[in-house]
Symmetry: D2
Subunit: 346 residues, 4 copies
């Protein structure tokens, strides 16, 4: 049994993680911390997990945590994780950070987009970007895993085969995404109130959303050259789910068959990627699962490909992928404790 | 491995059942039928289960089914199951009927409330009412299990200890329930359209809902005398969930402690019943689970008890309980393939 | 033109009031206050009213307000209004209080249920309970109008004819209500977040909700004797709407015709009451309107009547009725600026 | 008073039209037809309009209708209107068609995208495209007004100033839109069921949606040259609302000020267009109104403009604009019977 701990356990991603780890056959939760609810039972905050996890929440203390756990999950606001993690901690335990602090390898990019000072630049070189399907090998030996963002996971997985197989004009990528409200977290903000979100749809963070440089970094790596993307997130009145509709102009002569082959080549054997071809995914098809469903259509009139990806933002977009990363790193069986399918309607 | 089949696999309860059985370690699906979609792959109708269940749907044929399966689940509109099931079928396999045809032991009551002719009255004596927590012993040897209705499961479980321990005036029971829209099924009806249900709440079937006699039958059995209940269902804009708010006048001198003790006595060791005392349940606390969460409050001003129960109508209210019944009957471990908790928000 | 002012203009009820008054042909808004947003334009807080109301919000100052307005609407948390209103203010202008401070004529009852000290008990005798259909005459000359609560408006209107015509056993009244989330207001509370309300239904304030004594006070007045009611509110995932399902045992020999006649007698000519008989109301039927829709069914098995009322909690349950009260009091035409119907789906 | 009639009165757009016309001070409804509900009272189908419109629905009969009305609104599925309307009808009354049959001036384009035969090609030259803000003058004398589609209204209004002032590269236009479910109409389709739409988001009609050629036709007219657009609609779980997020590369040297000036120049005095600059619109800001709210942001990194438009699909996207067209055509005051603002949450 692997001893695991979670810091930031009462946010939505943290709670999903508690659920997954409590049901995981290979691990035992030995540390659970929450700044807001320290001293309370976890199941008092989440009555839906009464009986499953009744541990008492502790104050956030990375030192203590790292002594009790071999894998430590962080779900903290930026730049807190970068202030807390250290070489010493990493020598003692594997850290999987669900936040953004170790995702961008260039600290200047981080500080520009996050408007915050990074607290441990020296560790950035150690961090592995934990997009499992693309970085599986590096993850196997990483001590610091930067769990990708929700929009980024969905967008990168959807676009990688097109970029990697050189099928599209890399200057034309536009990613138009929609997210359920749990992506905004559990903070008490007017904008997250039921009556402010329900029965409405809006774009937000237009041109400034922090997932932009993360998508650009990973797609640039795959492309072997620097590229920019246009990324626009939207808020949609549902609990969970991300849909990314991605546009790009096709390179001259690229056929539908080549696109199909690219997706098969990259993801044909992936347990958590569901290729749907021209019958496009809906977010409900992956709700509650760790899957990313991908479909695509070629528009011969405009010579563009429209590729659509769907994930559950709290699962493949956060806690699910964190568990997948742990499974890979600790050799627990990549699919252990994760489901790939769901019975609709959920 | 137990061979199982489902007739009516593409309705919401049927599809939830396919999901549960596909993930169940002790069974193999060997027959799947749907009148509307015969000839199609199940996963074409439910793309969210691609890879999990890609069986081709067959025409509904109980003869064929009973030869291929040892447990057969029926999810059919009334009174179809009563027309199809026979002594001969029951000799060959165990039938778990998710419909209403074998729930009422009195065929006259059935025909009055369902306005339909019952097709196999001779089998009614054989049928066991499959409310697992209350009829576990009988279920263990039943060949025909009548899986309870959604409202009924929730209402009976919530009220049984109060009725059974003789704590309330049995003539004063009022059950006010709310259900998510999946309870109306997948039929193409105007009243089930998104725009007819969303942003609204209504009572329906007032004084005439068919779950009324079912609740009365079971509570009367427990009471040892005939009782009537007032049952009013409401429709609420959510996918899943049933909440039953139950009112009754307390017998003279009954204390809160007696009520607490009654619930502990009846359900203290039940894996799928979550007692919440005065911190009342919300339907999201049991979404996607096979649990029934129950809370209660005494009003000293009015001398009434208000007991509130919550279930997921497709799980404990249909497919989940059906699997629980199979587990009990086939000795597969009552909790196998079922979860009791959920990570909110889902 | 009547000069009107609103204190507490940026809550949901306040904003609805600003909307109604801005479109009202007989009034001019001359004062608008909000503690949280003082100094900002109203339409910055509510961009949906850009061009309709671009007034700058002032600090809450009843003295100033009462000098600038002849009608003053208060939408403040308890017991603030009771601390601010005075004889002097009332001499200068008519006060319509959307809060609870002047609804209960007995200050002890107020202080028991609201757990707060009432700041102006001497004014309670002056206050008129502004349920327009029942108190129209008194409202015409009132200087202090206590605008009823949302649940109370719906419940009292639904039950009054049954109580007033002596058709039911007054000790058996149970009111089971559901409300949309806007009833919880715009405060930043975890429980009001989208992801905490969406896809769920719950009872709350069971046995302790503050609208209970208000309903009892008014129904007791109508009955001519003290009665108690059992009132249970529920939260439902929708923006607006209240549905009250009311139960009572019929007096011996009472017929359906008598019930029908009672409703016709009490409400036959009311512009904002829509009698629906046995085709029960849904909350969407009155969304955005000032109407209360009422239906009823008799259960001959149990000898009970089930009467169902529906209103829009921000309209007939708050701002709409406040305008109706103003219209009556200031002789502006009772229906001016209010609609009775809506085009579904809204 | 202008006598008006509606054919197809019980669909969602038709019902919204009935509501608007019933409340309109300058018209009287003298004809109301519905194939599905002929013989029933309109308010039986829409109980929310009881008392407002209790007319009996007639069988659809254009001859009879045109004799009773001076303005006739059609809300029929394609290509029905094209089969029914004739020169003779147009001589007798003004026709405002909410369907698609007279929107595309090229019948070949119509037949390609709609896969249907156009029944009255000879009338196409007479038809005026009723996008009020852009074609006001022509509408004033039209006998056949083609009321624009919902997505098209929103997209064209959002993009026209950018195209018309030559600020963008016309080959780079991508329109990513989201719609509430009422856009799918009231037909009994599985895909429109509550449980199939709720808690999900999907793209649909990718590369093939019929509003594409309509957008291209109008933007090409404005551009003075043929252009193509990439248009992708999405379905979002809400009743009403369309959001169009429009992308285009800026022409060299174009500044934010030029963009702002373009929008002011085109729409500065429009009563139903709300310019929001960089504080982008949300669909709830225009729910229930006839307004189109527009915002825009320039991305200097990518040299693109992202312009976002929002409308209510049943109002400015259908019935509201139809009334606006009638108002212009019949000189009734363009804003009569229409609102521009709303009180959130609605």
């Amino acid at each position: 049994m692997v001893n695991v701990g979670i810091i930031g356990a009462t946010g939505y991603a943290g709670a999903q993680l508690v659920y997954l780890l409590s049901n995981h056959s290979g691990v035992a939760i030995t540390y659970l911390a929450s700044h807001s609810y320290a001293g309370k039972k976890f199941s008092t905050v989440y009555p839906s997990m009464q009986g499953l996890c009744d541990l008492v929440l502790e104050e956030e203390d990375l030192q203590k945590a790292s002594q009790r756990c071999s894998v430590l999950f962080l779900a903290l606001p930026s730049p807190m994780a970068s202030d807390l993690v250290s070489e010493e901690i990493l020598n003692r335990c594997i850290v999987i950070d669900l936040g953004a602090d170790f995702r961008l390898s260039d600290s200047l990019t981080y500080e520009t987009w996050y408007k915050a000072k990074h607290g441990s630049k020296e560790l950035l070189a150690k961090a592995v970007y934990g997009l499992c399907e693309l970085n599986r090998e590096k993850i196997q030996s990483a001590s610091l895993i930067a769990n990708p963002g929700c929009y980024t996971t969905c967008s990168i997985l959807t676009l990688s085969p097109l970029v990697g197989e050189n099928l599209i004009d890399r200057s034309t990528i536009i990613i138009d995404s929609a997210s359920g409200v749990s992506g905004a977290g559990r903070a008490e903000k007017t904008a997250s109130l039921f009556c402010e979100c329900n029965e409405s749809c809006k774009a937000y963070g237009v041109t400034t959303h922090r997932h932009t440089p993360e998508i650009e970094q990973e797609l640039s790596r795959i492309a072997g050259e620097t590229l920019l993307v246009q990324f626009t997130p939207h808020l949609v009145p549902m609990n969970r789910g991300i849909l990314s509709t991605c546009y790009a102009s096709l390179k001259k002569g690229v056929t539908e068959q080549q696109i199909e082959e690219a997706y098969r080549k990259w993801y044909g054997n992936e347990p958590f990627i569901r290729l749907m071809g021209s019958s496009l995914p809906e977010t409900r098809f992956v709700k509650g699962t760790n899957s990313c469903a991908i479909g695509w259509v070629v528009d011969h009139r405009t010579n563009r490909v429209i590729a659509v990806g769907a994930i559950d933002n709290l699962m493949k977009g956060a806690a699910g992928q964190a568990v997948q990363n742990m499974n890979i790193r600790c050799n627990l069986g990549e699919q252990t404790g994760l489901v790939a399918c769901v019975a609709n309607p959920l």
